[in-house]
């Protein structure tokens, strides 16, 4: 293996894969980046076994071949090198010399055979999506996935692909986020994707890229330009969330998002660290906030709202509400309710976007 590459190309390639390489690992080869010199250029790959990223950057290849090198050292070297062409040459199966100007390094790697092979995902017949659309879906939904490990399905984000739309849904069993965007073509599929993989998509692909998405039995692959991302899929089926989305909420309040968030934050100061329980009382043209924490104290606040329906008192985890408000794309939001023990919804008001978005939050039991 022998090739010459510019420092910038090397840094770009490493930057793409380095984030997929685990900082701590029990399998030494996973701390390495795989370098493959082919006629197309240099392919760099990294994986933590859950997610794999690979990208190809142009280079002048004199002799093909492959080797793995410690990712962190390589990144550090690339950063410190002077500008100019960098020459890589394999000396034996796991020893590489790197030269740039008068700087010379010899790095010990591991044979490429030890590097795990990538999942076989075929991209023929792949779905196509604008990266910007996927970013929007991920950016508004992934936060709601569970971080607790007892129900692995809820750790994932459900991605529904339909002939006329794409939808993402995530929930931790206490709150849920869902977004639909119109789409054209493609077949029907339900994928449960780890948020970590979606995070890589957001990081690696620019909004204007066209992404191809393909799946095998238990993997999903994304491709745009010379960059590929693979991830394990989480095995389904995803819980029947449609059934828990309330259809008959007959009370609705429209509030200013920033004012509501500010009031919630004020209340949280006095809410218990553990449950963040606050009480909201809607009646007439106002919502009253109140919180009482034994051993600490209490607080009240009030905001004007447009409210239709019978008066209602309901308890929430303030953190869940605040988080949902953070992702709401409009200045005003609409909340709907049925009863103090039933699901509430939050939606943007007057969002000028083809997408439709809603979040749902389960109340906390109130005690009187």
């Amino acid at each position: 293996m022998k090739f010459t590459i510019t420092r910038e190309q090397l840094q770009e390639g490493l930057g793409a894969v380095a984030a997929a390489i685990p900082a701590k690992t029990t399998l030494p080869v996973l701390a390495n980046v795989l370098l493959e010199a082919t006629k197309q250029g240099i392919r760099l790959s990294g994986t933590d076994l859950d997610i794999a990223v690979s990208t190809t950057v142009p280079a002048e290849v004199d002799a093909e071949g492959a080797v793995t090198l410690p990712a962190k050292k390589l990144v550090d070297i690339a950063r410190e090198l002077p500008a100019g062409p960098v020459r890589f040459a394999a000396a034996g199966e796991a020893r590489v010399s790197i030269e740039c100007g008068r700087s010379k390094f010899k790095l010990l790697g591991l044979p490429r055979e030890e590097f795990p092979s990538f999942p076989a995902v075929k991209f023929d017949g792949a779905w196509k999506a604008a990266a910007g659309v996927v970013h929007k879906l991920v950016g508004h939904v992934a936060f709601a996935a569970s971080t607790e490990e007892s129900r692995p399905i809820l750790n994932g984000v459900l991605w529904e692909l339909r002939p006329d739309r794409m939808r993402m849904v995530a929930t931790n069993g206490h709150r849920l986020a869902k977004m639909d965007v119109p789409a054209k073509g493609g077949s029907t599929a339900d994928l449960i994707v780890p948020p970590k993989a979606l995070e890589q998509i957001r990081r690696l692909f620019a909004a204007e890229d066209a992404i191809e998405v393909a799946k095998s039995d238990n993997h999903i692959g994304f491709r745009a330009g010379g960059t590929l991302v693979f991830s394990r899929l989480i095995e389904g089926p995803y819980p029947n969330y449609e059934q828990v989305i309330p259809r008959e909420n007959d009370k609705a309040a429209t509030v200013d998002k920033a004012a509501m968030a500010a009031a919630l934050r004020r209340m949280s100061v006095v809410a218990s660290d553990q449950t963040h329980r606050i009480r909201l009382a809607f009646a007439g043209g106002a919502v009253k906030f109140s919180v009482q924490t034994p051993d600490l104290g209490e607080a009240q606040d009030e905001l004007p709202v447009t409210y239709e329906g019978e008066p209602l008192e309901i308890g929430f985890n303030a953190m869940y509400l605040l988080e949902i408000l953070k992702y709401m794309p409009t200045d005003e939001v609409r909340l709907t309710f049925k009863a103090p023990e039933r699901a509430s919804t939050v939606e943007p008001v007057g969002w000028n976007d083809p997408a439709s978005y809603m979040a749902l939050v389960m109340p906390l039991r109130l005690v009187d």
Binding site: E149, S150, H174, Q274, P294, M362, R365, V367
Partner: protein, 563 residues
Amino acid sequence: MTAKIAVLAPRVADQIAAGEVVERPASVVKELVENALDAGAGAIRVAIENGGRTLIRVSDDGDGMGREDAELALARHATSKIRDPADLIGVATFGFRGEALPAIASVARFELETSPDGRAGTRIGVVGGKRDAVADVVRQRGTTVTVRALFFNTPARRKFLRAQATETRAVVEVLTVLALTRPDVAFTLTSDDRSLIDVPPAAGQLERVRALWGAGLADTLLPVAHCEGPLEVRGFAQRPAQARPAGRKGYVFVRGRPIRDPFILRAGEAGYRSTIAPGDRPSLILFLDLPGDAVDVNVHPAKLEVRFREKFFVEQVVEEAVRRALGPLAAAAPLGVGGLGPGIGGAWADVGAVAPGGPPGELFPREPLTPDTRPPAPLLQVFDTYLLFQTDSGVAIVDQHSAHERVLYETVMRQLSGDGAPAQRLLLPLTVEFTPPELDAIETQRELLRRVGYEIEPFSGRTVVVHTAPNPHPRFDAARCLQELVADLAGGRFGGWANRLERFAATFACRAAIKAGQRLELEEMRELVGRLLTATLPAHDVHGRPTIVQLPKEELERRFGRS
């Protein structure tokens, strides 16, 4: 007709009195040593032979007596310690009845040698209550009482004496207790020429404890110092994690007087609620001080009991005093106690030492660690189980599960007795399957389950559906916690807990807490440690294990040769 009633001859009266005061050799030692202490002795030597049957000798270097006093001392109701009933209130001496010496002398071959000045001395012999000789002797200042052939003239009593080893043990016990009350006095005890106790004058009670029982016990003790109204409680309570089911020491002193009071000890143990494994008995050494008129010391022939005017109040304050002793972070076990190596653990060991001549207010000069709700960075998690951080005086190592258990236990106790925890309604209700006994447990504990946050309804067959769940931390697994909690309740785990609420809270806390092996975010660690430090009993979990182990800075310095 001659009268049927006769006033008893003094000798008979003395023997009857002896029946109450002098039960066994240990009671003789107790009376004689108390007399020596009352006489201001600085060193007291006790020798016994054959468990005290053959010989008991108590020598002191106290005030001694002149001839006239010595003769009077042996008369019934002769005492130098009180004059009229009013003096009984708040009496500060051990003796006040003027009964002990004549009683002992009436049931033994008795000899008193005493000198008030180290020149002229008196020897008086008494055999079975009959004075046989008064003679001049030359001796040092002080008094020596020799009691031979105890109960030689009351065979019935003698028959009740136990094996020599048992009687010897009773003597050791009596002297140990008196040695605890007066650490400033030196004590020795020899039994058949074997030395059983030899303690020099000590600077404080803890030093005396160490001299009597060794560092093995002393290093497990936490200082008790609490005052409420007229009552002051001082002394030592054992660290919960070091309490064992057997072999504990339990001593109560009132106004410097050793007493037997199981209720006070029990009140002290109640202070350990929720910090100790059921069945473990912590060592407690408690010195109660209160005004003389709040306690009657003259209610028991051997003065082993006292009567408090407000017994309930006393018990309450004792419980509170012990509870407070367990509170501060310093109550956390230092690294090494329990035998990692010699000398380790000394850093907390002198907390109870009395500075010689220091004002009594500084009996326990060490400040408890001030709980800072924000643990200082860096905060490090190791083995995904322990959290390390720096404190004012060393390195604290926290067990994340135990710590969270303690925090949750305290929260849950409030919720169980108050109006309940905030329960999170579930978007996707859980269905969980149980065995028939578990379903019974759910039925009987339904209200408590509801208060911690579980609203459960029967579903079908053995399955229940869960509509609401607690949410104590982001990694909380509501279904698993419920399964384990119900299995524990059905299986009688924590059965040793007397109180149903406490049992439930302990079980819930154990099951709901963050587990060992869970990696935590920095923010989570901060919150956990912060909440632990503001808990009432941060240093102990609900199973009697420590939540915090301290590596004292002094110990690091010692190890690295910096001290």
